[in-house]
Symmetry: C2
Subunit: 310 residues, 2 copies
């Protein structure tokens, strides 16, 4: 079948999973955008529709456009693409809004072209969208968005992405308090040096977390969701963070931390019911403080970007 | 069967496996000590024989004695033990000589008493032997010696040891150049601070290494056997290290690093033949420099301390 058009689901993602700062991310299953990508005879890429968020439609200023251009530059395809974007993930929420668009666009284009590119190549194209969005061509969100499940970005030179087994009953709860935290600010407050002692704790936890995921050992996963380095600093930019975390843990969450560079806060739980209880506990904190919020519950998405049946 | 005597194999171990500084160790299969432990009516512990190394036989000054006393203190057993030690692992070689004795003693005693203690408890007893040997009650070597395979010491408070899957074809080559490096010296030269950037590389590699072990992905294991933090400093105390490492990699090793705090150097390979080629390449370096050495080739030991059939 020679496809000329495809609709795709572009998942939200959690990056910087506690101890896994800058390396570990995961894709979500019920939070994400919709995107329609269509082949055109004319060359280049046009964003023909953009609903849900106030974002630029000029190809060069749109992350999906830029990621798509990176793909086209490496392709022998002589035509172009039209993109319709239906954004559900709020920009600046910390759950990979730009990554969903970049990853969705290049995944869809690759399908329409008969899959000439590997997932790893798609990541490099989508990273150009991230460069536009944040100034840094990072893979923290686009890797899980494209691979699905948990991904570890082990190195950038060369780019080395490791797929990590995902336990079947792992659910995420994400709460997005409606406050603005600029990624650039949350980068600036990080220290450039850490103690060797904290480093050892961190890589012990990363090792344990990866083992816990492969072993499907939920309590071990919970014990490893610690971050002695970044969370103590960045959480200061998120009002109510400590309270949300302690209430989430009291409600039965395995662990809780900052999603991406915030302000969203994620928790992992074993099973959907537990994740729902955690959602209620988190909501109550922001209800009491009087900060508006969105809250999401989702199984981990093991496929990444996927086609939507019409 | 009510055992009154047992002979055990006490494996050598590699701690501080590259990126896994202070957390990741592995047990070896063909390098280790023999120990005989015997119940006595009299209380306390006596070392009645000690062959192979020049080490103290006074219970309080011998790591097996001290580890055994820690076990006795938690036991309802009213008798005592005699220990005969046949040391093959040289003290100060960096492959867990003291840990083999501590772990072997408490494992054997636990067998003779009908296994009243868990492996985790045995680790805490054996750690008292390590405290005597090095001043620090660390678990880097006693954990893999008791659990077998790869172990991750995720945390000390509380003690949390994670067993990591071991790929069946993983072999270690270990070369011990006959030079003295004091653990205290090799501790002293470590920096107390590291850059966040190096930390991120390190925990990316630890995460990838643990994933590689579970996935039995030998090339991934190799790519992750990097250490940007400790090896560049400690290797300065080991003459010929860089040359040994580069020759081992050229000969086909997956990776190569410092065993424990040195001076032994380990390499991992896929298969015994490959490990043998690596041994030849390593030997040649020290042969040329004119430093005496021992070289060992071993499959990974997935059992830890084990009974020896008479």
């Amino acid at each position: 079948m020679d496809l000329s058009e495809i609709s795709v689901f572009c998942p939200a993602t959690i990056a910087n999973i506690s101890c896994g700062f800058d390396v570990l991310g995961v894709a979500l299953d019920t939070i994400g955008d919709k995107m329609v990508v269509r082949k055109t005879k004319g060359q280049g890429i046009r964003i023909t529709k953009l609903e849900g968020q106030d974002l630029p439609m000029e190809t060069q200023l749109n992350v999906a456009g830029v990621a798509g251009l990176a793909l086209l530059a490496k392709s022998s395809y002589t035509g172009g693409f039209e993109i319709e974007m239906f954004k559900k993930i709020k920009a600046g929420s910390g759950i990979g809004s730009s990554a969903a668009s970049s990853a969705g666009a290049v995944w869809a284009m690759n399908e329409l072209l008969g899959r000439p590119f590997t997932k790893l190549q798609l990541v490099t194209f989508a990273m150009e969208g991230e460069r536009l969005a944040s100034g840094v061509a990072h893979a923290d969100n686009v890797a899980p968005a494209l691979y699905g499940g948990f991904t570890l970005v082990r190195s950038y030179e060369p780019l080395d992405i490791v797929e990590v087994h995902c336990p079947p009953e792992l659910y995420a709860t994400v709460i997005h308090p409606q406050i603005e935290v600029k990624t650039s600010d949350s980068r600036k407050i990080l220290k450039t040096n850490i103690t060797l002692k904290d480093g050892i704790k961190q890589w012990g936890n990363v090792g344990g977390l990866i083992a816990g995921l492969f072993l499907e050992d939920y309590p071990l996963i919970g014990r490893c969701l610690e971050d002695h380095i970044v969370e103590p600093i960045r959480s200061m930019l998120i009002p109510g963070f400590d309270r949300v975390k302690s209430e989430a843990l009291k409600a039965g969450a395995l662990g809780c931390g900052i999603s991406g560079s915030g302000p969203s806060i994620f928790a992992f739980s074993k099973g959907g019911v537990a994740a729902g209880k955690v959602a209620l506990a988190m909501k109550e904190v922001y209800g009491n403080i009087g900060i508006d919020y969105d809250v999401h519950i989702s199984k981990v998405n093991v496929d990444g970007v996927r086609p939507l049946s019409e």
